[in-house]
């Protein structure tokens, strides 16, 4: 095996000028649940940062299809869906966001009314130009695009297009395809020049503003009338990163909202001639569904369909329906194949190389390996006033099975159905083969991670992270996270092998990568994702907030010796309360959209039955904060006031939130022994890296 090449060295395939790389490494599995993208009708493609939505939208670009052809690889879209013409706009690079930065008329009110119309006009011209460019490109390579475009009829199409009244005479007299393109280019160039203060905006533009979507639809018509494309060839228009319009400081929010409504208007027309593809972060889409200059709202299924990539890739109750492992497996296999590595069981190369997670008992034994018997009582948090029979039982068990002993100690501290404290400790330890902490499977399962965390912390050990299932749990639903975890593990493996003589080296593909090496790689990846938070817009505030949360979660879980609250690595808030504080909602939603937090609606344990959302740190941050990645049981129920106090603690200032409103909640008194001396300084939370 080659010990110099890391199959995951280049994480970002869009970097590469070599289209072959894209073709080799792009896993087509998400296409299975994204087929509406290639069909008629408007589709909103939602997904958090790095989930792969831009990769999917890229498939609509003719250049990518050409790349597949050059690489002699079949285009991954089913052939019956592969016949379409795609066009699109990059809102930033096109200059669309400059509109509104320079007064046109001079009076604020009139300008504010005019800017959205100019924005719509600019979008029309830019998208039509891209549509014509795509058509020409496809016409030049008929074999690649299955003769979808007849290039000989482009001039006829241009004549048809120039006659359309939607242009208000601007294209009048254009007799050729090139003439139409030039006219459109002229208009875009004037817009760009105006916004660089090189010229004034001519009256010709302000008096011929087009209606959003109409010129694009008429272009589709002209293409079909002129028989450039067939009647049944869909025209799809991409608008990616829609949130840039209204979730950025670069554009005034009031103006960005109007621009968003212009795009909504295009979708709200229900125009069968054009199918829009909107790429957006999950929460950002729901910010405003109002159609420009009306009170109408876009309606899901009537105006658009949603493909939520995170939802599709998220693990549900029924693990059998979880597609992320398959997606990860395919992506993993492609990377290995590219460097000529093929595990014997290629269908499950992940499991072959990363193996299974060691048993809980073995992990706990590893943590407690160097712990003397005298330390057992600290690890188990045994108090002086506990009955001797329990003390003896737990200490004896600890020697053989620290995991079992720790669970037993937690079980003993709980009050159970009786509701009375100390009732279990008052009885002798159960003398049965399968005591409750072993036989009650759900109870045990919910506490496994918290138990291991407490043992590791009190044995002054860092937690172990390994195995294919653990890697999937830490990565899902983000394929970029998965790849970076693989990269760091492989890197750690190469480092560890490079120090050995060649005869002693192990083969990752044949023998798998040792668990301790995986831990090193996973921790590095976790640190990488933590440090990456500020690299995304407004990330410094989110990183400090994540810091506060990570430290709190760890402290709560460690202090909870009875393991009564194993779900306190997350918090829950009512939807109602969150809706009353839009600035906080936006902050939390941004944290979700950028992949720092994970959020999902859940069933409340309270009688009020109010809808609630629970929030967790992204699983990949768990190793960094040394907290469990699993989301079990009830999260911590909190309030806006308490979250505001966390924001204050993190030094996050959000316009519209009064820092004085932050009040730390009075947390339940925990069953901890304040007289218990701390063995390792302040407490174990010090181990959490900062």
């Amino acid at each position: 095996m080659n010990y110099d090449t890391n199959p995951f060295e280049v994480l970002y395939v869009t970097d590469s000028p070599d289209p072959r790389l894209f073709v080799d490494l792009f896993s087509d599995l998400p296409i299975q649940f994204s087929q509406p993208i290639f069909q008629l009708g408007n589709v909103v493609l939602k997904g958090t940062q790095g989930c792969g939505k831009s990769m999917l939208l890229n498939l609509l670009k003719p250049e990518i299809r050409l790349a597949y052809h050059k690489a002699s690889v079949d285009f991954p879209v089913p052939s019956e869906l592969g016949r379409f013409v795609g066009a699109g706009i990059n809102l930033t690079l096109s200059g669309a966001l400059d509109i509104g930065q320079r007064p046109v008329i001079g009076t604020t009110d009139e300008d504010e009314a005019l800017f959205p119309l100019l924005f719509g006009d600019f979008l029309n011209y830019f998208i039509v130009r891209d549509l014509l460019r795509s058509t020409k490109l496809m016409a030049e390579s008929p074999d690649v695009f299955d003769n979808a475009v007849n290039g000989k009829r482009l001039d006829k199409c241009a004549r048809e297009l120039s006659r359309q009244d939607c242009w208000f005479g601007i294209l009048h007299g254009c007799e050729s395809f090139d003439a139409v393109c030039k006219k459109i280019d002229d208009r875009i160039a004037v817009y760009r020049s105006f916004h660089q203060f090189n010229c004034d905006i001519p009256e010709e533009i302000t008096s011929s503003k087009t209606n959003i979507g109409e010129p694009i639809a008429r272009t589709e018509e002209a293409l079909k009338i002129a028989k450039v494309i067939d009647e049944d060839t869909p025209v799809v228009v991409r608008i990616d990163q829609l949130e840039k319009l209204y979730r950025s400081d670069i554009l005034r929010r009031s103006l960005g909202t109007q621009y968003r409504r212009i795009v909504n208007k295009a979708l709200g027309k229900r125009d069968s001639r054009i199918s829009y593809r909107i790429g957006t972060r999950p929460y950002a889409w729901d910010d405003d569904l109002t159609v420009f200059a009306t009170d109408d709202k876009l309606e899901h299924l009537r105006d658009y369909r949603i493909i939520d990539l995170d939802e599709e890739l998220r693990r549900r109750e029924n693990e059998g329906t979880w597609v992320f492992p398959q997606f990860a497996q395919d992506t993993f296999r492609r990377r290995l194949k590219r460097v000529q590595l093929s595990p014997s069981r290629e269908s499950d190369s992940l499991a072959t190389i990363f193996g299974k997670q060691p048993s809980d008992k073995d992990v706990a034994l590893e943590y407690a390996r160097n712990s003397r018997a005298s330390r057992a009582s600290y690890v188990l948090q045994i108090k002086d006033d506990w009955p001797d029979d329990w003390k003896e039982f737990l200490l004896e068990t600890f020697g053989e099975d620290p995991f079992d002993a720790k669970l037993a100690a937690a079980w003993a501290l709980q009050s159970g159905q009786s509701g009375k404290k100390g009732v279990r400790l008052a009885e002798p330890p159960p003398n049965e083969k399968n005591p409750p902490w072993r036989s009650r499977k759900p109870w045990r399962k919910e506490r496994v991670r918290q138990c291991l965390m407490q043992i590791a912390a009190r044995c002054a050990q860092r937690q172990k992270w390994s195995g294919s299932r653990m890697i999937l749990a830490l990565s899902a639903p983000n394929i970029s996270v998965f790849l970076s975890v693989c990269h760091e593990i492989w890197d750690a493996f190469q480092r560890s092998e490079s120090r050995k003589p060649p005869s002693k080296r192990i083969d990752a593909v044949r023998d798998g990568i040792p668990a301790n090496v995986q831990t090193v790689g996973i921790e590095t990846a976790s640190r990488h994702w933590y440090h990456k938070i500020p690299e995304l817009p407004s990330g410094h505030d989110r990183q400090r907030f994540v810091d506060v949360l990570g430290r709190k979660f760890r402290k709560w879980l460690l202090d909870d010796v009875a393991m009564s609250y194993p779900g306190h690595n997350g918090f829950s808030l009512t939807v109602e309360e969150l809706e009353q504080c839009p600035p906080l909602a936006r902050f939390l939603q941004d944290a979700f959209d950028y992949g720092d937090l994970f959020a999902v609606e859940h069933t409340t344990k309270l009688r009020d039955r109010r809808r609630r959302i629970k929030w967790y740190l992204s699983p990949i941050l768990s190793p960094f904060f040394q907290i469990p990645e699993a989301h079990t049981k009830e999260p911590y129920y909190t309030s806006i006031a308490e979250i505001t106090s966390w924001l204050n603690e993190a030094g996050v200032v959000i316009e519209g939130i009064d820092p004085a409103a932050g009040q730390p909640a009075k947390r339940r008194k925990r069953k901890t022994d304040s007289s218990q001396r701390v063995l390792f300084g302040d407490d174990e939370s010090r181990e959490a890296p900062r």
Binding site: F8, E9, V10, L11, Y12, T14, D15, S16, P17, S54, N90, T92, L93, G95, L97, D98, G100, Q101, R102, P103, D185, I188, A189, R192, S193, H195, Q196, F197, K244, S248, D249, I250, R252, S484, H487, K532, P534, E535, L536, P537, S538, G539, H540, D541, G651, V652, V653, E655
Partner: protein, 335 residues
């Protein structure tokens, strides 16, 4: 330095001694840093300042608000004790519209005597880039005979993040580029201390070869931080995408010439990303102005109140560097 063209630049006192311009119009920025006033003070002691405008840029609300207020108060006091008037100071939002930014510079040009000193020491790129472009392209060009940019060096920089909460990758005002130009063939990045969203950009749309302009010579600590950034930018990416070129951290001319060379005199179009030291960014700004290239940035919404500390000294004076961009109607930078 170009072998074709001598471009006067050096310490401000030296520069003033060697030029005969008696009166200057001054445009600067009152920032939180001590060095923000250094250029004004040096100019005041060596020449006459006629019209002047001091911008006070308002960041977005942040945890630094009290510290920022405190530092700005001190700088205002320093400005008036150096001979400035409180009425010269004008508050402006960091995210002011392009129209407002252009309005500021156009008004200043109208009130100026045609000999302008622009101090970019504490001025965000979002302002000084369009200011430089507007001054250079002002018509009739004869109205602005002299144009000098100054930059003051600090004693040190904070070890904490210099700025926080940056925005998406976007063109700087007035640097949207020429729509009709051929597509760019490279992305030239001025390397600074921090990535500020660059990493995301490099994995996103950009498929261009990257030319990293590494500030050198530079103090050891700064050099280490720049290399650390390069390491992070290249991590997990195809290293063949990146080429590294050295450019002086203190001389905008070096960066300008490097860009002229890399682009073969703008025959290969470049997109620019000025994340490096201010003199390097000035070189990029001049190149982008004359070639109508796109310049991108990820504008932070908050700057650290102690972004830099103290003022570096040179021969007993504040170390203020002056770059002559135009003197007596002669432009020193052209492509």
């Amino acid at each position: 330095m170009s072998n074709k063209n001598y471009r006067p630049s050096g310490p401000l006192p030296w520069f003033l001694r060697h030029c005969s311009i008696a009166e200057w119009s001054f445009l600067g920025c009152i920032g939180t840093e001590e060095r923000a006033i250094a250029s004004f003070a040096e100019l005041q002691s060596g020449a006459t300042i006629g019209s002047r405008l001091m911008l006070e840029i308002e960041d977005k609300p942040s945890r630094f608000e009290n510290a920022i207020r405190d530092r700005l108060g001190r700088r205002r006091a320093a400005y008036t004790s150096a001979g400035g008037n409180a009425t010269d100071i004008r508050s402006v939002d960091l995210f002011a519209s392009h129209g407002d930014i252009v309005g500021l510079i156009d008004d200043f040009i109208s009130a100026s005597n045609g000999s302008i000193v622009l101090d970019i020491t504490s001025m965000p790129k979002r302002f000084f880039f369009p200011f430089v472009k507007r001054i250079l392209l002002f018509q009739p060009a004869t109205e602005i005979r002299d144009f000098v940019v100054t930059y003051s060096l600090p004693e040190s920089y904070t070890q904490e993040p210099l700025a926080e909460n940056f925005n998406d990758w976007a063109q700087l005002p007035l640097f949207g580029g020429d729509y009709r130009a051929v597509s760019a063939g490279m992305l030239a990045i001025g390397v600074g201390f921090e990535a500020l969203g660059l990493q995301e950009q490099l994995k996103g749309e950009s498929e261009l070869p990257v030319k990293l302009l590494l500030p050198f010579p530079a103090p050891v600590a700064a050099f280490q931080r720049s290399w650390e950034l390069i390491r992070r930018l290249r991590k997990n990416r195809n290293h063949e995408m990146f080429d590294i070129y050295r450019a002086s951290a203190r001389d905008c001319s070096d960066t300008f010439d490097r860009l002229v060379s890399l682009t073969d005199g703008n025959r290969i179009r470049a997109e620019l990303a000025p994340f490096g030291p201010k003199p390097m960014s000035l070189g990029m700004c001049l190149f982008a102005t004359w070639t109508d290239s796109q310049a991108f940035y990820t504008q932070p919404s908050v700057y650290h109140p102690d972004y830099s500390l103290g003022i570096a000294k040179c021969d007993g004076h504040a170390d203020v560097h002056a770059f002559a961009i135009r003197l007596s109607g002669h432009d020193y930078y052209a492509v």
